[in-house]
Symmetry: C2
DNA sequence: GACTCAATATGTTATAAAACATAAATCTAG
DNA sequence: CTAGATTTATGTTTTATAACATATTGAGTC
């Protein structure tokens, strides 16, 4: 079967799928964005941007999964965000007009749209609905970040890992079976997302399995008992 | 001496001092804001807003100092922000159009300006420079929040406290003598800002004094050796 | 000026989680 | 298919920090 058709089958995204942009633009603005953006494809483990670089485009994740992490002090990384389609990537630095303070690496093959700075600022100037979308996104993410600060500093290991699994569920959802987490992270990534050592992520995951809260098959995690998981998350 | 004059001496702020707003508005917009805002005064320990409440105005801190904190799981609070004039207060929830996820309490007597939601959204619609200011503020605060998440989870007690003192210095600066921190927190607040128990804040502060890095006189903290403090902060 | 209550100080004990140490399993490349 | 590297697994030791226990000081009140 020719490759082209295969791609269409997989619903290769276009920038029109980025609803945060496309839903609020006028026809003229849509045309402008359409003619002035570029598309890049990334494969697993590719670096999308690195701490210190200064962005000159707004990036939109059309498809795939991305982890955003900060390098810590004892060499341990902290994953500060798991991004899903169709959201902006690295937009915090872009709008703060400063360098990235975290790095973005591909978890699952990505299609990313690049909109040049000049175009974005033109949109901000002309279309206040677009500005409002950006403001709302940033405000919500700041709320999430502060919430996470408290859980990552105050909850115990079990609570932190349980919460992380639930957060991943909220972001990426389940497979069709309704129990399999639709994201496949290494134990190390899971640890870096939950502020713990890899050993402790492995160990704690095992205890969850023994308690029949989840099943683990390599990187495939199934949530058997979401209620208990939520209880563990709440108790700290 | 009549009270009025005293007040003028203390440079009672007006909404014109909020540069993030006033610098970018047209004369007409300034007039509108001037005629449609209210002013409230708060004294020490007053609650400005609480977790769960939904804001219907944008709050600007004209003068005073405010702590913003989230109630943690083991009863321990986490201070997520120390606000200084002339910045917005509780604007994250306002722009996320949801409830506050933290509470704001007065550290030093405050003058706060309230701008009704309708007026703010009118400004957002008409004045894209104002929108840009909001976007930049949120983006910068998100960067700070993520940075703090990593330090609060990964640095050791000494590093966390050292960093907190330096952050307080950056926010509030020094007194005229160039070494006295221009903010006077209880040991408990200092602990809640640095993710540690009050006991450990007291203890660690004492060791800093013994090491001639700072002096402590009640709540008055003087930084004697900023370089060493930065070193302690960096090492974790 | 004695009396309360809250804040500060400091020593001791308990514990959660990191660090360390292997080992088994899985993946990758030649 | 084998060798090496990476990831996963699990047991043991160490340590940072919370929890606990009292003092001590200071600030406000009657």
């Amino acid at each position: 079967m020719p490759r082209r058709i295969d791609n269409n089958f997989n619903a290769e995204p276009t920038i029109k799928d980025i609803s945060q942009i496309y839903d609020v633009l006028t026809d003229e603005e849509k045309e402008k964005v359409l003619n002035n953006h570029s598309v890049k494809h990334f494969k697993k483990n590719d670096v999308i941007y690195q701490e210190g670089e200064t962005p000159d485009s707004l990036l939109c994740l059309g498809s795939g999964k991305v982890k955003v992490y900060k390098v810590g002090f004892g060499g341990r990384d902290q994953i500060v965000r798991m991004a899903n389609p169709t959201s902006f990537i690295g937009y915090r630095a872009f709008f703060a007009e400063g360098p990235h303070v975290a790095s973005a690496v591909v978890i699952e093959p990505c299609t990313i749209f690049y909109i040049p700075k000049a175009i974005v600022y033109e949109l901000l100037e002309r279309n206040h609905q677009f500005s409002l979308n950006i403001i709302r996104s940033l405000a919500q993410e700041l709320g999430f970040s502060r919430y996470r600060t408290v859980t990552l500093t105050q909850k115990h290991i079990r609570g932190r890992l349980a919460e992380s699994l639930l957060v991943l569920k909220d972001i990426y959802g389940f497979e069709d079976d309704g129990i399999t987490l639709n994201v496949y992270l290494s134990r190390e990534d899971l640890a870096n997302f939950s502020n713990m050592t890899t050993s402790n992520a492995i160990r704690t995951l095992s205890t969850f399995v023994n308690e029949n809260v989840i099943t683990v098959d390599g990187r495939i995690i199934r949530i058997l008992d979401q209620e208990t998981l939520e209880k563990i998350s709440k108790l700290g």
